[in-house]
Every structure is written in C-alpha cells, then in structure tokens.
C-alpha cells in the first residue's frame, strides 16, 4: 500500500537527528496518556546510552505505576517488593561496586512503606542513584492518598480533601534526605515542558557522573502529574501541578557537592 503522507525516501541514517534510544524496548508503555513516567524513562535511558552504560547498569524497579519499568528499560533489572528498592540497591552496589545502580520509585513506595529503607540507605551514603517520581498520589491502586498528597487535596481515601489534623501533613522527604551526610546531590525537577525535560536529563547525567566517583547517594526527584488519579485532563493536570505542587515542592537543586543550597535560593530557582 502507498503511504501518501510519508516521504520514505528521506528515511536515511544520515537524516536522523533524534530517535528512540536503543535502551528503551520497542513496545507500548503501560502508562496513561499525559503521564510523566514515559518521559522520565526516556531521559534515564538516553542518559545511560550516552554514557555507554547498558552493560554496566543494574536497575531496581518499585511497586506502583512503574512496577513494569523493567519491561521498558532495556537493561538488567530487578523488581523489588513495595518500598524495598533501596535495600536491594544497597546490596547490589556493595557487591558490584563498578556497576551503575539505580532505584526508580514513586512517592508511596519511597516515602511511606519504604521510608526506613530509603533513609538508612541515604544515611549510610550508599553509592547509587535514586530516581523519585512524586505525583502526590497512589496511581496504580486507583488514586489513594499518598505521603506527599497536598493539604486539602482530594484522593479516593481523602475524598473531602486531606485533613492534616487527622491524616497528617505531607512528608517533604526530599528535604529530609538532603540533610543526611551520606547524601551528595539532591535535586527536584519536572518533565511537563521541553525546558524542564532538558533540565531533568541534565540532573540525571550529573547524578550518574557523581556515582562514578563514589561520593554517596544522588537523588533526583521529578514532580509529575497524575492526570488519571487527579481526575483532570493532561493539560489541566500540568497547570494544576504548576499552581499547587510547585509552591509546596519547589523545583531546583536542594543539595550540591554535599552542601545544602540556601532555602531562599532553592525556592526561587528552577
């Protein structure tokens, strides 16, 4: 059959300026349209490809929306029990000190059920990278309240909004982790605009470069939308994220070269 709208004659290697990285498996993602996971997957895999690290990387996936991350990332990976990824990564990195090791975790995984594993791996100064996707909700199980759900924010288990008096305050785990001496680099990024995507990729590259030098935990948080869980269109959810999530979880570097960035500066800087 003819393809009238595709000029096949221009599909030549020398004309290709951007394509899917070979470190992403060629299959449909399981994520909702508009979700940030797919973008972060791609930035992470592009980073590892550019570092020629496919053979030298062992990844650890979480339980949550990205439980199937290992199906999309064309590297060797382990699927951890809910919250335990930092424990797996600790042992893997200790026994394979020359490999890149990372965990990829959501907010429920990292900041609720896995808080102990997260904090202690960070405090020991393990030499792996944590990629933390914060969308303020349990996506996979259907939109329940997460440790990072904002005050007043609705979820299926806080249907009238998060009441901090009875449900507690959202946990700013990234700021908490940044105070630990074992942690070398902490940054908070987003992937809802091309500019933010580029910054996230830069942060990932920086994290893996630091990992080479065995300086301790590198921690990249990505504040992301969950349009399905938030019951919004992707465009609405990104707008809501900018207006509500970013003031509470300000973007920018939080700790660089083992030193905390001054609060004023962090809040203003994206």
């Amino acid at each position: 059959m003819e393809e009238p709208f595709v000029k096949t004659e221009i599909r030549k290697d020398e004309n290709i300026v951007y394509k899917r990285t070979n470190l992403l498996v060629d299959r449909p993602l399981s994520y909702c349209p508009g979700c940030g996971h797919g973008v972060v997957h791609r930035m992470l895999m592009e980073t590892l490809e550019e570092m020629d690290a496919q053979q030298n990387t062992i990844g650890v996936g979480p339980v949550g929306c990205s439980v199937l991350a290992y199906d999309f990332m064309n590297i060797d990976m382990l699927g951890a029990a809910h919250g335990r990824a930092p424990a797996l990564a600790t042992a893997i990195k200790r026994l394979w000190p020359n490999k890149f090791v990372f965990t990829y975790q959501g907010d429920g995984d990292l900041a609720a059920i896995g808080t102990a594993e997260t904090i202690h791996a960070c405090n020991r100064g393990e030499n792996f990278t944590i990629i933390f996707i914060n969308n303020g909700i349990y996506g996979m199980t259907g939109g329940q309240m997460a440790p990072t759900t904002l005050p007043g924010m609705r979820s299926s288990t806080s249907p009238y909004g998060r009441d901090v008096a009875t449900m507690g305050n959202p946990l700013k785990i990234t700021e908490l982790i940044a105070t630990l001496p074992g942690v070398h680099y902490v940054t908070r990024q987003a992937v809802h605009t091309p500019n933010h995507v580029r910054k996230t990729k830069k942060a990932l590259r920086k994290a893996f470069e630091i990992q080479k030098e065995n300086k301790g935990i590198t921690f990249v948080e990505v504040v992301s939308n969950c349009n399905s869980g938030w019951k919004m269109t992707p465009v609405q959810s990104n707008k809501w994220m900018e207006e509500n999530m970013f003031p509470f979880y300000p973007l920018g570097d939080i700790k660089v070269d083992g030193k905390l960035i001054e609060k004023k500066e962090a809040a203003g800087k994206e």
Partner: protein, 360 residues
C-alpha cells in the same frame, strides 16, 4: 581432615560462610543469634576473601538486601531469630517466587510474639509450610550439632544454587549458643564475577549486547502466566522431594518403638534412647535432617516395623502432622513437647514413651 576448633554454633555458621565462598552477609542483631554477625565483623572477611558484611536497619531490609544480591547471582547469607524471621517472610516469598538462591539461618527462640530468648522449635510450620504468602516451599535443614551448623551452610549454598531457591537452616537457641568441637571444611575461593556470570546465566549482571535484558521478578499479571510460574515451582519441589531427602536413624534395626525428632530434640532423644534401652525398651531414633523435603517414604517404611512412635518437639505438636501424613493411621503416634523455651529432659521423654505409647 580440616581444621578442628571449639566453637559456638552461631560462630560456626559465620566461619562456614566465609569458607564456603559466600559473597555477602546482611543481618540485624537479635538474641540468640547475634554472634553470627559479631564473629563476621571481628573476623574482617573482606580482608580474607572479599566477602561483604553489612548491618542492616531491620530484618525487612536484610532479607531484601539478600533478594537484591541473590538476583545478581551472588552467594549471600542472613541469620536471625524467630521475631526477625517473621519480618522476613515478605522477602522470602518474593525470593521463592523469583527463584533466587540464598541461605537464611533461623536460630529459633520461644514465641509467640516477643516470647523469650530461650531455645524452641515452634517455627517448624513457618519454615516448612511456607510462612509468607503464596504456594511456595524452601528447603529446610535442621542441624543437631555445631558441626552441622557449619556443614549445613555449605550444603545449603549448594542446594540453593542447584534449585535456585532460598534454603533455611532451622536451628534453635541451644544449638546456636552451645560450644562443641567442629571440623571446619577447607576454604573454597569466592567465585570471580566472570565465573558467576558463566554459572548463573539467569542473573541480572548487566546486559551485554548479545543477550536479552534480564528481569528478576515474581510478578506476572496474566493469571495463565502466573499459573505456569506456580506449576514450575511445584515441579521443582517434587524434584527436591525425590532427590534431596536427608535423615538419620539410630538403633532402628531391632526397634519396637521409635522417637521421631529433629535438631536439639533429637540430641535429647539420643540420651532418652540410651536410658530406655538400659531398661530393656527397644526404642530407636529417626531424625529428619531435611524438614522439607520430608522423609515421607523412610518414615512410612519405619511405620511398618515399629508398634508406635513418639514425636518429640519443643513446640505444641507441629512436625507430628507430617509424621502422621507419612506413616498413616496403622500405628500409635503421639506427641510430646515442652514450649516457650523449656528444653525437655531425657527422663521425661522416656516417661512420655512409657505412658503415651507403650502403656497408653
């Protein structure tokens, strides 16, 4: 012959791990097994063999460290005691599901709950019947001496890698704490990463260009796929039942009665057997060494020869269920147990034999 030493059972586990070529130990302190990690930390195995030792923040973390390391083909060990092993059940289920090799030592103490720090055998069901969620089994080895605490570590690693399965050494507070002479096996060098990759092509060791990426997981969202996983596991367990049963018999040739006991209880029954035989009671001892796979056939054969069996356990009657399933209803089978950290005396075991089996 290897080196002869006087050691605690817990120390023998630690020394055996170093000598077996173990790559890593991850644990958390709990009485009565803390000597395992204390010995390892003092011994600096990193300098001896390159073995990594790490004190985790919890048993939940240490079993998941084992999961991570085992998923990359490394030879790893943890040890704990009953409450800590309860915390590990999540990880054990995941490891069984993902088919990962590792050795887990349970130096059992009395329960339930925080219980006591004295020896017990009340974790038999937990170890043998699963403990965690889902249909899975572990190979369970029951040492009855400090020598076996040492030897079972090596046997455990062999079986763990042969079947890609977690292996539990089900000991107790007495075997862990008591000192006996032990003949240590000669050290086996740790595998190099190249050897590990060659021997364990299933392990997540970093994807080279010429093979597919490896995924270590226990998840299969397709029920037909998950059923296939289960059928594969069950087939593996049947193979273990055929090939890996270990047991010991003493004076069973002319026996009219038999004690059936594992671990420390079997040591006590040895003395009880001598006392009973001195009084003219022809009693033998059957000691299962693997609690899974259970010596079903061997006990069934013994059941055809003796008039009755006394199952002696430091619990309220757990292994007796497997003994009854093995032997059937043709002879009298009774349980004698002490609980909560009490060790039965040889005399009370003989008395139980006389009243519950012979006179009963």
């Amino acid at each position: 012959m290897g080196e002869l030493r006087l050691m605690k059972g817990n120390e023998a586990v630690a020394e055996a791990a170093i000598r077996a070529g173990c790559d890593g130990y991850f644990g958390y302190p709990i009485t009565p097994q803390s000597e395992v990690m204390e010995y390892l930390m003092a011994e600096k195995p990193h300098e001896r063999t390159g073995m990594v030792v790490l004190q985790a923040e919890s048993e939940t973390a240490s079993i998941n460290m084992l999961y991570g390391a085992a998923g990359t083909g490394k030879m790893v060990l943890t040890s704990s005691s009953s409450p800590g092993i309860s915390l590990m059940q999540e990880g054990l289920s995941y490891m069984a599901g993902a088919e990962l090799p590792a050795v887990i030592v349970n130096v059992v103490r009395g329960g339930p709950g925080l219980g006591t720090i004295q020896p017990s055998q009340a974790d038999y069901f937990q170890a043998v019947k699963g403990g965690g969620h889902g249909d899975y089994k572990m190979i369970v080895l029951a040492p009855a001496s400090v020598q076996e605490m040492c030897d079972h570590v090596k046997t455990g690693f062999d079986l763990a890698f042969k079947y890609r399965t977690p292996v539990m050494i089900l000991s107790d507070g007495a075997i862990g704490q008591m000192m006996e002479k032990v003949v240590l096996f000669d050290p086996i060098p740790r595998r190099t990463d190249e050897e590990l990759i060659k021997q364990n092509p299933w392990a997540a060791t970093g994807k080279p260009k010429d093979r597919e990426h490896i995924i270590i997981t226990s998840l299969d969202l397709d029920p037909a796929g998950q059923e296939r996983v289960n059928l594969k596991l069950q087939a593996k367990y049947r193979t273990m039942e055929e090939n890996e049963v270990l047991y010991e018999t003493l004076n069973c040739e002319d026996a009219e009665y038999a004690f059936v006991a594992f671990g420390l209880s079997a040591r006590i029954c040895q003395k009880s057997m001598d006392l009973a035989r001195a009084r003219g009671i022809k009693v033998g001892l059957f000691r299962p060494i693997t609690l899974f796979p259970f010596p079903v056939k061997q006990l069934n054969d013994l059941g055809k020869k003796v008039k009755g069996m006394l199952v002696v356990e430091m619990n309220a009657g757990q292994m007796i269920e497997d003994v009854k399933l093995s032997v059937g209803c043709s002879i009298k089978i009774e349980h004698f147990g002490r609980f909560g950290g009490i060790i039965p005396t040889p005399d009370e075991v003989v008395k139980a034999l006389e009243t519950q089996i012979i006179g009963g």
